[in-house]
Amino acid sequence: MKPVRPCGKVIYSSLIIGIVVVLGVDGRLVQSGVVEREKNIKELREDINSLNLINGLNLTQHQIKHVLQYTEEVKSLKESYFKDNPTAQEMEKTFTELKTVLEKNQGIPYDIERRTNNVNERGKEEIERFARDLKSIETKLDAVLLDSQKAVIEDFNPCLIPPKNLKDPVRVGQADDHSPGEAMLERFRKLPDTAFEMKKDEILEKHMENIEKHLGKMTDKEEEKEKERLLAVVKEARAMSDVDFELNKTSLVEKIKPHDERKELATKLHKINEARRTELGKAGKYLLNERVVPLLEKRLDDMKKFAKATPVDLNKIESADICKKGACGLKE
């Protein structure tokens, strides 16, 4: 057996130490990798949501400049409240003391209790003032947005792939304008009676699954009721003449929409809260947000750099069919 050279000893020991270290911290590395990835995915998701909204708003350069200005104002406001604010500093100190005392579980000294209540009260007042200041920035934001843009923001739900009305809205003069509900009813109408009887449960089941995706799991009773309601609309659609169906399909689609009690309650609650609300509304939440800043800056930059593509040479394109005078007749 060959003896190990001194340099070899160094190399082997380093290797072993390395392996041990790696194995030792492996858990932490994996852990930090997971955290990092989780954070990345979360941030990517947020950015995609924001981009979907920004794309759906068609903000002008002028509007983007204003939004960026207001985002900057929000940032300074936050700094003034949370970074250099003595109340916030005192709150941090007192809460730390309270936590230490609670960890020991030996009762709360009167002085800490008094200071906690005091600083908490002051903190609440400051937060209310902060919310008011934040709201005033949001009011300025509201003033630069069109009513139609505000309507889009109000209807917007965070998403990865935007809904059809944002991604590919119906265009002027576009004949193909079928909603998924219309398509479903049309499928049902095309089925002959026997096929309908055979397939109706299967199709209804699929539809119920879709509904549940949006509304959450239903109870058996709710599901039964929903199916009955849906089946009645489908039967109504099937009984109609082609012309009647075309004229009534929009209202039929309205009828098949499930009754979403939770959404109704949420809307009601939203309305009640709206009047009393101190926190930001949807516009403020989505646009006066630090993560939106780089996205809007890039958009503004792209807009400034915008240059139209070179015009096409019409002589070189494959031209449309054209009728030559006197010889337009199409043969069978």
Partner: protein
Amino acid sequence: MGKESISRRNFMLNLGKFGIGLGVAPYVLDRFYQENVLGKEDSLYEVDLRYYKRLAGSEVQCFICPLNCVLNDGETCFCRTRKNHSGKLYSHAYNNPCVIRIDPVEKTPLNHFLPGTQTLSVATGGCNLRCLYCQNWQQSQEKPDELKNFNLASWQAVKGAKDKGCNTIAYTYTEPVAFYEYMRDMAVFSSQKGVRNVMASAGYINPEPLRELCRYIDGFAIALKGFDEKYFEKVCGSHITPVLEALKVIKEERKWLEITTLIVPTYNDDMANLRKMCQWIKTNLGSDVPLHFARFVPEYKLKNLPPTPVQTLEEARKIGQEEGLRFVYLSNVAPHEGNNTYCPNCKKDVVKRIGFKVLENNLEDGRCRYCKRSIPGVWT
């Protein structure tokens, strides 16, 4: 006078005749009522002799549109709807729509015509143009007989429109010039019944049939595809001059008119050319004619192109405004300030829209609520 006797046989015979007459009468009367009062029910309709001529042999020549197609027996016009049957020209589009839908009137697009109301949109297969970007090519580039159609007589359409609360019937989506007779007869009937008519067209029609149409059509949404003959020829398979003539005819006939230009990137987005177009509109039609610049979205044979950048549309809109057009809109971009109607006097938004949905209407009797300036359009 002696009493005339009638044999039992004759009595039974006459009774039988009377019975048959009684049985057939409702059908005959109903048919007469539908054809003469309500409108014809057949899908094959002989074109009026005013708009076609019988030539030598069994050839015919159609005069509805500037193509003036000459057809041998069995041949169909370039629009795919009119066919020569043994020396007679028939429309195959009559009572034969492939699309019936209820839409907002703004989808036509008409922004100054009963905003916020519903219209019954009707279209048949066929078109006398061959636009490379057609968004309804599945219907427009087919013969009516090759599509799934609905048998819809004028009276049914009008009844449907009334039942569904539509103020108008819109002849749209494909090219109504291709279903001229069906549109005209439906418009005649519906105007008698208090339902107004609007037509969305490329305006490639001869003056005489257009003037006749102007008697019944209340609003026109004409697509002025560009302002360059080469573009018309190469991209739309058409010519510009007849369209400009049609626009002048509509104006002369004092009918409500709005113009739409689809901006196809790199094809017709030359701003100098669009400026010339705006100048022509102002000089020949007036500053009050609304102009819509519409965003192109890749379709049909131009799927390789990107959608029109919003900035290009905004630049076009600015040019229109600089040239003195008072109502310049952006279509197929929403939300956008170019969707709204602004009062030319106080500059306030008198009709706020998102796409073709009206959010707020601040017009009172056709006047701006804020400064009372009259806004041109059909408002009531």
